[in-house]
């Protein structure tokens, strides 16, 4: 086997094998478990580095395995998959460190980390899926691997949240499946290709294609939390903080958004999709979700719930960017895939630190928390400002390109106001938190857990948000330098448009 065939498999194996070994470990084997986790994550980062370099050189990485006549499992790395793979891999490493600290004293850790690794394996597989069939397989695997994580605590709320999650995602999975099968019967094997495949096939029934688009987007929209399919996300916040990070930033929601990008660009082709007139409805739903999520976020007192609604809103930027025809909007949407991930994971890490260290779960309990936990709160503030879209944090870049793209496509008249309104709303639900945290005098904390540590909390909890917040700043500041997410998004956009 040549490296180009082997590399995608190795990238999968680097989290799958540690995960499987971890399942068999006894609860007390903490060191070995952490060692396996971290070495898997680090090996994966190294392998992905190789992949980035190769794809940049236009090398082809592809693994193919026939499951049935005409149904191939294909792993294929192109520029878009590399973007998602590197995001997931990097954030997995950070989240693993965080989770090791976060779950230090809780039960069932072998189970947790086993499924955690499976979850990342599924995400990376989904990112490298080379056709719609493979995508569907990993999309469903992701659902399965996440369910035990959401249910992890075993409390009635956790089980209810997990059940709701599964009900939504399995129903969505079925819609996606039917759409994919239907498209397969019309158009053949559906290997993803830049610029789309359907535009080149003559004699396809346009109405069928529109129905299929609806099925696919509805199936993906469940994980991407598009209105009205978002109901599971706020309920799933009962899960432990590392799982929330996984759901909101690394894997699940991202998988949905990534799928939408894939379907629009590499199956339909954005230009062909515009011809079919399916993009505008998608754009309208995305825009509505952006505003709806923000409005709902304002009224939440529970910090994680507020962040969850914020995700509902923010992920739809990706769908919005996808729905606008034009390279600039594509750049905005695709780059937000990365930017939102980095910022949102910071926010969830910080929320987890507050809950774990001080027992603070509600916004109303956060008065003066900046003085007690300055590093965490600083990270939180940077990410929140980025979410609002303040330069030079990453979020600004995304919004800037989305706005430019809307103008370029001649749809500025309604999209720019949506973007502005959303920024105002973001400010309206984030600024009060920052004000409370930094400027109000502290109250007594609900339950202060670990006072033994010299710093504000455990180092493995304190550093991950700081690192990701710095990353959010750096990718914003150095957006124009080589290998930055923005530059990579530009590379993708340049390959997706034919004219």
């Amino acid at each position: 086997m040549t490296p180009s065939v082997l590399l995608p498999l190795l990238i999968l194996a680097s989290s799958l094998i540690p995960g499987l070994i971890i399942f068999t470990l006894k609860e007390e084997r903490q060191r070995l478990r952490s060692l396996l986790n971290l070495s898997g994550a680090i090996v994966k980062v190294a392998l992905v580095g190789w992949l980035i370099w190769g794809v940049y050189q236009e090398q082809v990485f592809e693994t193919r395995w026939a499951l049935a006549p005409g149904l191939d499992l294909v792993l294929h790395a192109d520029a878009l998959s590399v973007l998602f793979v590197s995001l997931s891999t990097l954030l997995w490493l950070v989240t693993t460190i965080y989770a090791i600290g976060y779950l230090q004293h809780s039960p069932d850790r072998s189970r947790f980390f086993g499924f955690f690794s499976l979850c990342v394996t599924a995400t990376v597989g989904l990112a490298m899926a080379g056709n719609l069939f493979t995508f569907v397989i990993f999309y469903e695997l992701l659902t399965l691997a996440t369910y035990p994580l959401v249910a992890h605590k075993g409390t009635p709320e956790a089980i209810r949240g997990a059940r709701l999650y599964l009900a939504y995602t399995l129903a969505g999975g079925v819609l996606l499946l039917v759409g994919a099968v239907w498209l397969r019967t019309l158009a053949g094997p559906l290997d993803f290709s830049q610029g789309g495949i359907l535009g080149d096939i003559p004699g396809l029934d346009q109405d069928s294609l529109r129905w299929i688009f609806l099925l696919l987007i509805a199936g993906l929209g469940v994980k991407a939390a598009l209105f009205p399919l978002h109901g599971w996300l706020p309920q799933a916040m009962v899960a432990p903080a590392p799982v929330s990070a996984l759901l909101h930033a690394v894997a699940v929601v991202k998988a949905g958004a990534f799928g939408i990008v894939r379907v629009v660009y590499d199956v339909y082709g954005v230009e062909f999709a515009a011809e079919l007139e399916v993009l505008t409805p998608l754009g309208v739903i995305a825009a509505f979700t952006i505003l709806y999520g923000s409005v709902k976020a304002m009224s939440q007192d529970q910090l994680k719930k507020r962040l969850a609604y914020s995700t509902v809103s923010q992920v739809s930027y990706i769908a919005l960017g996808t729905a606008i025809l034009g390279p600039l909007a594509t750049i905005g949407g695709v780059v937000h895939l990365v930017h939102q991930g980095i910022m949102k994971i910071t926010l969830f890490f910080a929320a987890g630190n507050y809950a774990e260290t001080l027992g603070v779960h509600r916004v109303s309990e956060m008065n003066g928390i900046g003085r007690r936990m300055p590093a965490t709160t600083l990270a939180f503030s940077v990410a929140a400002l980025g979410m609002i879209g303040l330069p030079p944090v990453a979020g600004f870049i995304s919004k800037w390109y989305l706005g430019l793209g809307a103008l370029e496509a001649g749809q500025g008249a309604w999209i720019i106001p949506v973007l502005l309104a959303s920024s105002v709303l973001n400010a309206a639900y984030f600024m009060p938190i920052l004000y409370r945290a930094w400027f109000l005098p502290p109250n007594a904390w609900p339950c202060e857990n670990d006072t033994r540590y010299a710093g504000e909390t455990l180092p493995s909890l304190q550093w991950p948000p700081v690192v990701t917040a710095s990353l959010a700043l750096l990718v914003g500041l150095f957006a124009a330098s080589p290998y930055s997410p923005l530059e990579w998004a530009q590379l993708i956009a340049s390959r997706e448009y034919r004219q």
């Binding site: 049935a68 469903e140 399965l144 409390t155 059940r163 099968v181």
Partner: protein, 485 residues
């Protein structure tokens, strides 16, 4: 190669005799026999890849007079399923029965049942098939009586026996009619002769209805839930995984090899509709069941329904290639269900022995008590739901695809609703098992070797059949299915 056929057909019968004569050796003998049979069936698969049809006349009596054994890809695949499931269940059964008296009665019947299954799959004559069917029904009903809850098990076994006998009688009447009309009962020569005629149609209806009772196709399923849920765990596994499946195999032979000329689209639609009702009703009753074993039994009703859904679709498909694809998917679905359901019943057996009951509402804490077994339940459940990468996922993909190609989208709807209901009953069980128990149950030692057969089977259904299914189509390609492929 003929030796393989003879070994597969007779070895279980010798084993049965051996276990009867030397009951104390049964525990030692049985795994060896099971292992040898797995070896034979794998060698047979290998041989089939080279020679598509293997025929052997016992005692050298050729033609329609003697007993002949015949194997092709379809029977070889089902034999492989049968021997693998039997091996796992045999290893499980060694630890399952604690009472010596039960054990002594169990092993001879167990190998008799297994012999009947193998003989059925190797027979090429309608009357020999009748004999194997009777043997199958009698030994299966006798095994059912070994269940723990005596009165209930006896009642279920009696009902099973009675309905099985009615089925056999209907079948026998059909056989008589065929003999009167065509003067032979050998499948190869009948396949050339059968024409559409009122007598053929009557024979088809008699044969089919007899077998449909044994297959438990709704509304003829009433005996199944009680029988499968009250039998001992290894027996339930084999009943659900193999016994109903081999009767379905026989139906396939009848419909698509012998009576192709007689089968009308209306007949196929009727069968498909019954299958569709079974899918929905079976899944619904599984969801509503309060006991794990009953849930698994109703799940069998629903999974058998899927197999019948393929019938109208197979007939409606336009060309040879798409039929071959759909037929491969049908076989894959049957194999997937066989392995996954056996795994599920074995895993439930462990839970039931450990907790002393199998009430779904009271299995909280199992996630921590029996993690390996619960993992097996989850894996087997995913394969039953049809989640990737299980074999059922590929099969369902093909089913949905074929129903779209033939513009029969209602079958698609049935498959989707059935899948969601199946996911619902799986989640119900997993959710209950994840709930913490108050007070925490003792996490005593569970011997891994007891849990291993279920886990390995479950992994085989989810990973093995999903990722390694491609050879099924290439094996089936030369012979396909008689007259329609």
């Amino acid at each position: 190669m003929s030796d393989l056929l003879i070994a597969l057909a007779t070895l279980p019968l010798w084993a049965s005799l051996g276990c009867l004569l030397w009951p104390r050796l049964a525990d030692l003998l049985s795994p060896l026999v099971a292992l040898a049979l797995v070896g034979c069936s794998l060698l047979l698969l290998d041989a089939i890849a080279a020679t598509p049809v293997i025929l052997h006349h016992l005692g050298g009596w050729g033609g329609d007079l003697g007993i002949s054994l015949r194997a092709d890809a379809l029977s070889a695949l089902l034999l492989a399923l049968g021997t693998v499931v039997t091996l796992a269940a045999t290893l499980f059964a060694r630890r399952y029965f604690t009472d010596d008296q039960v054990r002594y009665r169990f092993w001879p019947l167990w190998w008799l049942l297994n012999g009947a299954i193998n003989a059925l799959l190797l027979s090429a004559d309608l009357f020999n098939l009748y004999v194997t069917l009777e043997l199958l029904g009698l030994s299966a009903a006798a095994l059912c009586t070994l269940g723990k809850d005596k009165p209930q098990a006896l009642r279920a076994a009696l009902r099973y026996l009675l309905l099985g006998l009615i089925g056999s009688l209907l079948y026998l009447t059909g056989v008589a009619l065929v003999y009167a009309e065509y003067g032979t009962l050998a499948i190869p020569s009948l396949a050339q002769q059968i024409q559409a005629s009122p007598a053929s149609l009557t024979a088809l209806l008699l044969l089919s209805s007899g077998l449909l009772i044994k297959c438990a196709l709704l509304p003829l399923h009433i005996w199944l839930p009680a029988a499968h849920s009250s039998a001992p765990a290894p027996v339930s596994a084999v009943l659900s995984a193999l016994v109903v499946k081999v009767t379905f195999y026989l139906l396939l032979r009848l419909w698509f090899e012998l009576f192709t000329a007689v089968i009308t689209p209306a007949f196929a639609t009727l069968i498909g509709t019954m299958g569709a009702t079974a899918v929905i009703w079976g899944s619904w009753r599984a969801l509503m069941s309060t006991r794990l074993k009953l849930m698994a039994a109703y799940s069998t009703v629903s999974q058998m329904g899927y197999l019948f859904l393929f019938v109208p679709i197979l007939l409606a498909l336009p060309d040879h290639d798409s039929r071959a694809l759909a037929f491969g998917a049908l076989v894959l679905f049957a194999l997937n269900h066989g392995i996954a359901k056996a795994a599920l019943f074995l895993a439930i057996g462990i839970i039931q022995q450990r907790l002393g009951h199998d009430q779904v509402d009271r299995i909280n804490g199992v996630a921590r008590q029996l993690p390996v077994t619960l993992f097996a339940v989850a894996l087997a459940g995913s394969a039953l739901v049809g989640l990737p990468p299980s074999g059922a996922f590929l099969a369902k993909w093909t089913l949905i695809s074929a129903s779209l190609v033939t513009a029969q989208w209602w079958w698609l709807l049935v498959a989707v609703i059935g899948t969601l209901l199946a996911a619902a009953y799986l989640v119900r069980v997993l959710g209950a098992a994840f709930a913490p128990a108050e007070p925490p149950p003792p996490t005593g030692k569970q011997l891994l070797s007891g849990e291993l057969p279920a886990l390995l089977l479950a992994a085989m259904a989810t990973l093995g059949l999903g990722l390694g299914a491609a050879p099924i189509w290439s094996l089936l390609a030369p012979t396909g299915l008689g007259n329609i492929l």
